[in-house]
Assembly symmetry: C3
Homo-oligomer: 356 residues x 3
């Protein structure tokens, strides 16, 4: 980890930095881009780490509501980080420091799809997303941010802020892996089911052993949706169904067709790497690629948790795995939650492989 | 793996062969034995690999319907591979090649229990099965075959064929482990729940470290059944229950009493090896043997995924484990899914141990 | 293991002792303390192993009923080991021998909270428990004891005894790890859901690699409760809900507020060790500590199953993990089953950390 201690409170155990300064909550007159940061992308994309050594990242993800489509004819007023479900993928390296800022703009109409000055690469990618094309909604609500990648006092950094407030805090990427982030405001079941989750990929300092052979790298976030129709095409969250673990939809990357309409791409003979996060909020995922076997699985993304030759990897709620597989032939490879009740509810996608 | 490349399209990565020729679909005038192959058995049996080095296996498993009993007084018209649920166990060695043929005979009455010339050892074993004794049913339906043990383009090899058609393709056992096979025709939830699944055991080239101490070796396939009564004793598949993950029965080897009426056998002091596959289609299994602790668990059957001293192993849908345990004393050892809602629905069996 | 074979029937494989003598079932005129043993505590406590080498433990846990509170205003007549839900935590070392005695006193009123001569440290700790304060209930019922930590013939040692009977048997802690114990009398789903489960911690002979750095050590037992209101505040077990896997409550250590009203304690910079057991009876647990990352996870408690840097550990029904994490800052750390449908039903608690 970055041994340069930047604050008086900081201390080091096993090369990891703890004891970060208290979060600041304040009001700012800000209506700039809702997502700021060079290493923020929309799923399934992941930013390239084009720097050596450790870095301090200034990251902003504002909270606001957007009308989001989950399946054809099924839209709801989502609570979002940065205007998309899942929220932006943040990519950093083990040991990096993140200075994070989030304004609760749930009481504003916020525009996301137009790329903006100082905005993140995330914006161009959202524009290509057919299902999440900037339909702002006002829905004032307290919210918060909990990064599983951070080791901090939650009741300080992950604290709930009101509409109009901004929170600012730091965290260190002490442990490599792929992590969930989500709103931790009660009911967490509701706030995550409403759309407030995403992935942080913390690449290990010394990489994974197959890094040099990887041809394509993608991020997948699985999640359940608990929706019921309120009016023609307009759906609302169903808390009873969420408590009973009866999802209406289960998706990869937020839409039942996200990865069929826009499949992942590779070629025969390629080594493909997937960072798969099961965001829940409650179910497990038995992740499988039809026609492939996982050559390597790094459970939770830690290179020391290395497993081999797996047909399927089981992920609990907020578990992840970093997976390598060889694309055996030109063709179409379906990705599924092999819990077929969930695949049938939408947890399916595709990778299309061209010739060698 | 077998480095002798047999087809122009083949290529090798890390000693594994990819790029197999296109599947062939044709009509053949065939009414011979529905299961052909020397290394095919009925659960819980597993064939002995009585050859050195690599082998090319010619395997046939035809698809057709049979009336199958799942519990006393509960029968349904199953869709089957080879006439049994689960289908035949195929045993090969890492690096072997399988030339697979399957005729969709769902429009025919097919007889299975009588051993036939050129038939598989599978047939003798089915005869000893009280619950699956040859009651042919005609139920014309498109079907397919997806071997998790194969690394191929699924939309080619695992393609759906119509009644009367035969498909032929090859796959290489590139990775050791115990794998699910199943029909991949939509709705996969329905086709697997109807009975179309089974296990392939790919023994590792260099074996498992305790191979020389193993006294008995068995295969267990857990699965859920979603049945409702249509007429006295006659049950049909309930898709709503399958989507809601509310099984009517959960079984080991296809019947709630399969392993109680015909328990596994061993003796005090024996090392018993189980290849356990959870075929789902949706649930997890918390596999446990009452009175024993798993000395070794090779997760997904890969010898590199070696765990120790486990009371219970958790399997996602289409996960497997190869398990060793010592039989501590003469007596009866119950096998259960320790998710007791499922044990109570039938996921239980027994091993009976004689004296040392 | 302890190589001193104490009975003619005993034998050794890989340093583990098998072949223990037959259980004895008899009637005794006993109305002394219901829990006897120096290494028995109430969750979240764990006894210190203040001896060198191997030990033979004489342990008693009688069975009887108690009115137990699961949530504010929700009490039921629990079937218990030793009068608490979960039952006492037993701590032994790998290789130790346990001589276990259990009287089925379900036909008696048994008092537990007053410390008694020859009683266990367990009693003082139960006195501090607000929810389980000695409200005896008579509920005659056959019961049994199944220790997952023992390797024995279950139909002998784990056999069911009637009210008024005592069973006595031995088991050897052949494998390190944290294990479930429970009543194995049919319906096991009902007997465990009624309260008959607890944890045995078998510390490895050579310890875990971080032992010398551990500051605090606790035991957590997660379980589901399937209760419905029968009369004002009086709840009864709902077998249909248990079969359908629809818990009314999910708890850590037996009460939705057990670990909020009496949080775990540590300080900033401490290494905290948790032995987490998911007792089910049916559900999985995606165990997570909000604000922390698990530095080490020994799956099932075996030091050879060492994983790293995990945000969440997935436990099947009767799986366990021994977990180390660093407390990053002064503050409050919530423990949750990150399957938020279950967290919302009560699977949540807290650790409070003081300053360094
Ligand atoms: Cu929120
Ligand atoms: Cu979380
Ligand atoms: Cu089929
Ligand atoms: Cu499959
Ligand atoms: Cu009992
Ligand atoms: Cu058990
Ligand atoms: Na990690
Ligand atoms: Na799932
Ligand atoms: Na494998
Ligand atoms: Na199960
Ligand atoms: Na163990
Ligand atoms: Na759970
Ligand atoms: Zn700073
Ligand atoms: Zn929120
Ligand atoms: Zn490529
Ligand atoms: Zn060929
Ligand atoms: Zn089919
Ligand atoms: Zn034997
Ligand atoms: Zn003795
Ligand atoms: Zn009982
Ligand atoms: Zn302390």
């Amino acid at each position: 980890a970055d041994m340069k201690l930047k604050h008086d409170s900081e201390y080091v155990i096993d090369g990891k930095i703890y004891g970060l300064p208290e979060a600041k909550v304040y009001r700012e007159d800000y209506n700039g881009p809702a997502v700021v940061g060079d290493y923020l992308t929309q799923v399934p994309n992941i930013a390239k780490l084009d720097y050596e050594g450790n870095k301090t990242h200034d990251v902003r993800m504002d909270v606001f509501s957007q009308k989001i489509e989950v399946a054809p004819g099924v839209s709801y007023s989502a609570w979002t980080f940065g205007g998309s479900v899942p929220g932006p993928v943040l990519h950093v390296r083990e040991g990096d420091r993140v200075i994070f800022k989030m304004k609760n703009r749930s009481d504003e109409e916020v525009t996301i799809t137009k790329p903006v000055k100082n905005g993140s690469p995330f914006f161009q990618q959202v524009q290509a997303n057919n299902y999440q094309n900037n339909q702002p909604v006002i829905n004032p609500m307290p919210h918060s941010m909990d990064f599983h990648s951070g080791t901090v006092a939650a009741e300080d950094k992950w604290r709930t802020i009101s509409p109009g407030e901004t929170i600012e805090f730091e965290w260190i990427a002490n442990y490599a892996g792929t992590y969930m982030y989500h709103c931790g405001t009660s009911s967490v079941l509701m706030h995550t089911a409403m759309g407030q989750y995403g992935a942080v990929v913390v690449s290990p300092k010394d990489g994974y052993p197959t890094d040099k052979d990887v041809d394509h790298e993608y991020v997948l976030v699985q999640s359940e949706h608990y929706l019921e129709e309120a009016a023609e095409g307009n759906y609302i969250y169903n808390h009873g169904a969420a408590l009973d673990r009866q999802p209406s939809h289960v998706t990869f990357n937020g839409h039942v067709a996200a990865l069929s309409d826009n499949p992942l791409r590779a070629n025969e003979g390629d080594r493909v790497r997937l960072h798969v996060l099961n965001a829940g909020p409650s179910g497990t995922s038995s992740f499988h690629v039809i026609g492939a076997i996982f050559d390597r699985v790094w459970y939770e993304g830690d290179p020391r948790n290395e497993w081999y030759g797996m047909q399927t990897v089981l992920l609990g709620a907020s578990n992840s795995a970093t997976i390598d597989f060889i694309v055996p032939e030109e063709g179409i490879y379906k990705l599924v939650d092999h819990e077929f009740a969930d695949a049938e509810r939408g947890a399916a996608g595709a990778l299309i492989a061209g010739p060698r």
